[in-house]
């Protein structure tokens, strides 16, 4: 892999695609990590709260037929966290700036869980650079009444309970931190902290998002890992129904992170939807 550096000025030329790179990118003064891989239609992949590493296989699959941009969110991995960035709303503006800076057009925006929430917050503001939106096991809205916990309180669970809740096969999420390199252990710790920063309160949702979802007028697809018990399928379907014309497809033998448990099937769903003019 080549390490590329971009200086972050608007309109700077992009690398030629069809080359696998993992480098850094400066957006409005904030340096983040970004994987760029594959050729074809531009596709931005916005990772879930468990970070970029578990998405590696899905990114590989997507890159077989698309030009994938997979940034590491501010505060995650080695990406900087600018002072004052505290909300998913902030993140959505950050990524709209990123799309502007890279001058991407007709982008397929794909997000999983927290990443899907970011994508939705972007799309209600502007879809000028987006052609399609894919939201997998998305968080971001409040569906039930005030005493109904739509989204499991993952910060009140033991590690074992958490794994059983979010994975179809809990072993898929197990990591041997004693054996992992320092950078990955630090990334796991940063992912937990950054998730809390963006999703603590209100918990994994923005109370204002629901009333804005009608503004998303690009074709939208919800993907749903069938064994997700952090969120219910009913939650996903209710969320989906708020975006005009959005479709809903299930992914079997996957939980809250279908891109991780079924990367090939996940990519097939995304690419089929992307190619469906």
């Amino acid at each position: 892999m080549t390490l590329i550096m971009r200086d972050g000025k608007k309109g700077q030329g992009m690398l030629q695609p069809a080359q696998s790179t993992a480098g850094t990118l400066v957006v409005e003064g904030t340096r983040i990590d970004m994987i760029e891989r594959g050729a074809g239609r531009p596709l931005i992949f916005l990772h879930a709260e468990n970070g970029i590493e578990p998405a590696a296989a899905a990114i590989d699959e997507l890159a077989k037929s698309a030009h994938v941009f997979a940034p590491t969110h501010p505060g995650f991995g080695r990406s900087e966290l600018p002072a004052g960035m505290r909300t998913v709303d902030d993140l959505s503006y950050f990524y709209l700036d990123l799309l502007d800076q890279l001058e991407l057009r007709d982008v397929i925006a794909v997000g999983v869980s927290l990443g899907a929430w970011i994508a939705a917050e972007m799309a209600v503001k502007s879809t000028a650079r987006m052609a399609r939106l894919v939201m997998a096991n998305a968080v971001g809205v409040k569906i039930g009444d005030r005493e109904t916990r739509d989204i499991a309180d993952i910060f009140a669970l033991t590690d074992k309970e958490y794994l059983e809740l979010v994975y179809c096969d809990p072993s898929a999420g197990q990591r041997d931190y004693k054996a992992l390199p320092d950078a990955e252990v630090l990334a796991a710790a940063r992912a937990r902290e950054a998730t809390a920063r963006f999703a603590w309160n209100p918990y994994f949702h923005d109370p204002r998002l629901k009333s804005r979802l009608h503004r998303i007028r690009i074709p939208t697809l919800f993907l749903w890992g069938s064994h997700d018990r952090m969120l219910s399928e009913a939650y996903g379907r209710a969320y989906c129904a708020m975006i005009p014309g959005a479709g809903f497809e299930m992914i079997d033998r996957a939980g809250h992170f279908p891109h991780q448990e079924q990367p090939k099937v996940f990519a097939e769903h995304v690419l089929a939807f992307a190619g469906n003019e």
């Binding site: 004052g84 505290r86 910060f155 009140a156 669970l157 033991t158 931190y177 004693k178 320092d182 252990v185 630090l186 796991a188 710790a189 940063r190 937990r192 902290e193 998730t195 809390a196 920063r197 603590w200 309160n201």
Partner: protein
């Protein structure tokens, strides 16, 4: 030396009846309000006794827990501001980063300072991890809120000539002008607690009174970090009055009785960490580096005996607790000697926060413990000459 008596005002009747967590999730059905009322009155009687005995008083708060019924420290302060005459009233602490409204904090504390005619000591604290569920404050920004609340409180307590404006990151007011204003000028003394050297240095730079809790013979390095910060800012050594230490205290004329009391008071340590695991370390409460170490299973021990042996303060013997400087226990002579030895280890420690009541220690035992301590240990501690502060500071610089 000043000595502040402290009790967590525990609801101990349910200490042996829980399902793995005395905090956060223990159903409050286990709390009988009639029993709680009797306990509160008993604890306030014991605090009033302190006032008569020449002891000062420390209060705190925790939330959703049978380990401490005081969930709003201002209530205890309000009761005692009127019911006591001489004792200083130390709140240690007030978790100001959790509070939605620091203006309200200023109003409360200023009123307490006035009613008590200037006897308030204000300890501002971050709060232990288990407080997060009750406030639902985002743990990743808790310290940023803490410092903004702190700055606001000082500004509001020291502004006397009309309103001021505050539009910060977390708090917004346009017409701040607090009545009544504080009794003590420029404001009541500020205290805080820490277990980290980095924060100890920050507190030293500000010159606040720094308390450590249960740090035993690991205390010196925290005090030395404070000394470095203090000297860098003020160009002289901090006096012993800048340092406080919370220790368990059990005194009796009879050694066996003292051990028995020490064992009962140590019930505080044995119960304080009985918390459902996920609430022990909310994200962002400690640094990413510390969390990475924890993921790897590396958790360094916090308690050490005098000779450097690591102990688990939550599950160890009375002897170990005495060896570690966590528990001062024995006859009045023994307890005096243990406290003096600890002060010498620290290079000076001017405020003993004495946990002379905890858990199953009965009212009669508590009264005897406090009375004996006040009559036979306190006068000697008041006369005790602290180690030379400049020498302690020089040792750090060298």
């Amino acid at each position: 030396m000043r000595v502040y008596q402290f009790s967590e005002q525990a609801y101990f009747p349910t200490w042996n009846d829980h399902s793995g967590s005395l905090r956060v999730i223990l159903p409050n059905r286990k709390c009988d309000p009639h029993v709680a009322a009797d306990l509160f009155h008993r604890y306030y009687d014991e605090y009033q006794l302190c006032d008569e005995l020449g002891l000062d008083i420390m209060l705190n708060e925790h939330h959703q827990t049978a380990t401490c019924m005081s969930s709003s420290v201002v209530i205890g302060l309000a009761v005692l501001a009127r019911a006591t005459k001489k004792a200083r009233l130390l709140v240690l602490g007030y978790p100001i980063g959790h509070r939605p409204d620091p203006l309200r904090v200023v109003e409360e504390l200023s009123t307490i300072d006035v009613i008590s005619r200037g006897r308030l000591d204000m300890g501002f604290i971050k709060g232990i991890p288990y407080e997060i569920p009750a406030s639902n404050r985002n743990p990743t920004e808790l310290m940023d809120r803490f410092w903004e609340a702190h700055d606001f409180i000082i500004k509001a307590m020291t502004t006397h000539d009309g309103t001021f404006n505050w539009e910060g990151e977390f708090f917004h007011y346009r017409q701040v002008n607090v009545w009544p204003r504080v009794w003590q000028e420029p404001h009541p003394p500020i205290w805080s607690t820490t277990g980290s050297s980095a924060q100890a240095r920050v507190l030293g730079e500000r010159g606040y009174v720094m308390a450590t809790l249960g740090t035993g013979f690991g205390t010196r390095k925290l005090y030395d970090a404070y000394r470095k910060g203090y000297v860098s800012k003020f160009g002289k050594a901090p006096g012993a009055d800048r340092f406080a230490y919370l220790g368990l205290v059990a005194v009796a004329h009879d050694k066996e009785e003292a051990r028995k009391r020490g064992d009962l008071i140590a019930g505080y340590l044995r119960t304080s960490a009985i918390v459902h695991v996920p609430f022990r370390n909310p994200p962002g409460y400690v640094s990413v580096e510390d969390n990475a170490r924890m993921l790897r299973g590396e958790t360094p021990p916090r308690g050490f005996t005098k000779d450097g042996r690591a102990i688990n303060i939550h599950a160890t013997s009375v002897d170990d607790l005495i060896d570690a400087g966590i528990l001062f226990c024995g006859t009045p002579d023994e307890v005096h000697a243990q406290i003096v030895e600890f002060c010498e280890h620290c290079g000076g420690m001017g405020n003993l926060l004495m946990m002379g009541q905890a858990g199953f220690l009965t009212h009669e035992q508590t009264v005897d413990n406090l009375t004996l301590f006040s009559r036979e240990v306190l006068p000697r501690l008041k006369a005790y000459k602290q180690p030379d502060a400049e020498a302690a500071a020089k040792a750090v610089a060298a």
